[in-house]
């Protein structure tokens, strides 16, 4: 056990799994870098250095730099998975997924169903999401609600370095296509991470704290922000449960409903654009299944429905922060039924 960054935890998960299982291959744009050119062979290790060093250990047979064509190599990964390999493809920014919708949504996600349960597609697509990186609207989206919408895909949102390692190992060992979303703002965040390999099961939410007043459901990087707000609120006498679903497909609906039954108040923090995102999905679930438990209307803390701004001051206003979570919790705590009239 030692402190490791989110980046190092992901690298270690890939390395340990590749040592264990020779059918695991990496592919993507510049996952090594330097192929076919003189000079440094592991020049990039992925655009933010996450796969750095894997080429040296596993060679070009297993660490494949691909052409700049997501449609080609994501399709190749799906085919390789269906025919016996266990590919981990890196879709650099999730914003680029548009050009390989068919390969993911209509091919990989459907093989098991179209072939009568006889096909498996054990592929992982690792991809970066999230705003705050000063990377403008074409490199800052979340987009995980799109994948969540598609039956046949598993969708993973690790909230810390510990979670990233265990959830990536589970993703690689899973026999279905998995979309593994890494928040680019978190790569340098450190956490205690065991040196040994460990899987974290899908569909099991983690309560990062337990309190009696309000349930906060938060996704990915927002878990940290929710806990920051909950820390402050604790000092003011408001105690929160913070629930990290870990995976949005499958979603641990039992855990969410159980927490709402206990607290009677719900705030959802989702960095994805506010229409048809995880916050609306969880709201609908709770409104339908636990309406009687609610003491106040559900509050959603999300960005506004606009492209991610490039101006730094506007981008900072765009991303949900602890102040907004704190205000939402206060609002549900202060709610009086007569306000409905």
């Amino acid at each position: 056990m030692s402190k490791k960054s989110y980046r190092a935890a992901i690298n270690e998960a890939l390395r340990q799994e590749m040592r264990r299982d020779p059918t695991i291959v990496l592919m993507g744009e510049d996952v090594a870098g330097g192929a076919g050119a003189p000079g440094e062979q592991d020049a990039w290790g992925g655009v933010l250095g996450v796969t750095k060093g894997l080429l040296g250990e596993f060679g070009r047979e297993r660490v494949l730099d691909t052409p700049l064509s997501e449609s080609a190599y994501i399709g190749a990964a799906a085919g390789a998975a269906a025919t016996g390999l266990r590919p981990v493809a890196e879709l650099m920014f999730v914003d680029f997924v548009g050009v390989c919708f068919d390969q993911i949504f209509n091919q990989a996600a459907k093989f098991r169903y179209m072939f009568g349960g006889n096909a498996r597609t054990p592929m992982v697509i690792r991809t970066m999401y999230g705003a705050g990186f000063r990377a403008a609207s074409q490199h800052s989206q979340c987009l995980y609600p799109l994948f969540t919408h598609i039956p046949g895909l598993k969708v993973v949102l690790p909230s810390s370095a510990y979670e990233a390692k265990g959830l990536l190992i589970q993703s690689i060992r899973d026999d279905d296509p998995v979309i593994f979303l890494e928040n680019k703002m978190q790569y340098d965040e450190e956490d205690e991470v065991p040196d040994e390999a460990y899987p974290i099961p899908f569909g099991e939410a983690n309560l990062t704290r337990e309190g009696g007043d309000v349930t906060i459901v938060a996704f990915g990087r927002m878990v940290k922000i929710a806990n920051e707000a909950a820390d402050r609120l604790e000092k003011q006498g408001i105690s929160c449960t913070v629930l990290d679903p870990r995976t949005v497909s499958p979603l641990d609906t039992d855990a969410i409903l159980e927490c709402v039954q206990e607290t009677g108040r719900l705030v959802i923090v989702d960095e994805a654009s506010p229409r048809c995102n995880m916050a609306t999905d969880v709201s609908a679930l709770v409104a339908q299944e636990a309406f009687g438990a609610l003491k106040a209307p559900i509050r959603m803390v999300c960005p506004p429905h606009v492209p991610v701004p490039f101006a730094p001051n506007l981008e900072d206003l765009y991303v949900p922060n602890a102040d907004r979570v704190e205000a939402a919790v206060r609002a549900v705590m202060g709610f009086k039924a007569r306000e409905l009239a």
Partner: protein
């Protein structure tokens, strides 16, 4: 300044970086003795009584109740009545100024870290403290599902006067998850192997629960390598065991399932914290742990009964100092297993304590272990 002793935030276990005084149990101005509990200290993992390491008058409670403080921070000042208040004030100012400067960093770095050693083809993790003390070391052996952190209140206390080594058995903590047959012979061979690798010909063994049986088995197999035995709520003295603890521990996948299982370990159920349950779930997720625990459980506690009973062989230990320590509220193993043992074995039944006396009554257990070791060392 002469005659003034600072009391600082202790470090309970490897991961503790800060703690707080849950409550002071003696008032300012009170006369205190060595070993007297003067406060309850709370960490995210556990709450424990804090014992004064010195005698004197508790002149100042520097730490307020519920105030988070880093390990090593000043919590109180002890001095004789003759020391003027102004000296106490000056001492506190000087201490805190030094603490705020870089000195804390150095102290943190000096904290001992566990190391991993290859023993007969397996990686074994152990933590060694008090190496500067002469004499045979004390070796601490945890029980089923535990690790060297089970001795978080034992090892620091003992290491003030003794050389102490706590290890992780195979399948546990940071050691290899290869447990071999997982029975007492296999586990005790690993402890012997570690001591051989460390060039330790003879040691005082302290074992808890399954670790107690491991220590006992080692004393039977290699009597000349064992200087004394302190067995805390040991297995292997009777067939009865709460089998639902073993299966519950193995099967629990979520905090909500783990919590009630852990509560069986303690008389004071509030000692079970979120962090304690979380740490165990994290351990149980490691590759190989599920298989290791199942193997150890099947080899030692199949079908809710203990398999290898060593009670009948205790007489073979004549000449070896042996003590047995048991909590009278143990829910895992019946305290009646401490009855009708051969003459010469000292029995200490601790009142109002569950299966973990070394955590619930750490000071008392530490004194018993230390007395045993000191007496034995003096006799040879």
């Amino acid at each position: 300044m002469a005659g003034i002793t600072p009391l600082t935030m202790p470090k309970f276990g490897l991961a503790m970086t800060e703690g707080k005084i849950a409550s002071w149990t003696v008032p300012e101005g009170a006369k205190i003795e060595v070993g007297q509990e003067i406060a309850d200290i709370e960490t995210t993992k556990i709450t424990n009584g804090y014992e004064s390491p010195v005698k004197g008058i508790l002149r100042r409670q520097v730490a307020a109740e519920q105030q988070d403080l880093p390990v090593g921070a000043l919590i109180a000042v002890v001095a004789d009545a003759a020391v003027p208040d102004s000296d106490i004030d000056a001492f506190i100012v000087a201490f805190e100024a030094e603490f705020a400067s870089g000195h804390t960093q150095e102290r943190a770095e000096a904290t001992p870290e566990p190391v991993i050693l290859e023993v007969d083809g397996r990686a074994i993790r152990y933590l060694e403290t008090g190496r500067e003390h002469a004499g045979r070391p004390i070796v601490l052996i945890h029980g089923f599902g535990g690790d060297l952190n089970n001795w978080m209140f034992t090892q620091p206390g003992l290491a003030e006067d003794h050389w102490v080594i706590a290890l992780d058995l195979p399948g546990h903590g940071g050691s290899s998850k290869d447990v071999g047959a997982g029975d007492l012979a296999a586990l005790s061979a690993v402890v012997s192997g570690l001591l051989a690798a460390l060039n330790i010909p003879e040691a005082h063994l302290v074992g808890h629960s399954l670790g107690g049986a491991v220590a006992l088995r080692m004393a039977l197999d290699t009597p000349d390598r064992v200087a004394s035995l302190s067995l805390i709520s040991p297995t292997s003295l009777g067939e009865e065991i709460d089998g639902s603890f073993i299966t519950g521990f193995i099967e629990a996948g979520r905090r909500k399932q783990m919590h009630p299982v852990l509560e069986k370990l303690f008389r004071n159920k509030s000692l079970v914290s979120r962090d304690m349950a979380d740490d165990l779930l994290k351990y149980k997720r490691l590759d190989g742990v599920a298989a290791a625990l199942s193997t150890v459980a099947a080899a030692n506690f199949a079908n809710g009964r203990q398999k290898e009973i060593l009670r009948g062989r205790l007489a073979e230990l004549s000449g070896l100092p042996v003590q047995i320590i048991w909590g009278d509220a143990d829910e895992i193993l019946p305290v009646s297993h401490a009855q009708n043992l051969p003459v010469g074995i000292t029995i200490h039944i601790i009142h109002d304590v569950g299966h973990m006396p070394q955590m619930e009554k750490a000071a008392e257990v530490n004194r018993l272990i230390s007395d045993m070791v000191v007496t034995r060392n003096a006799s040879t």
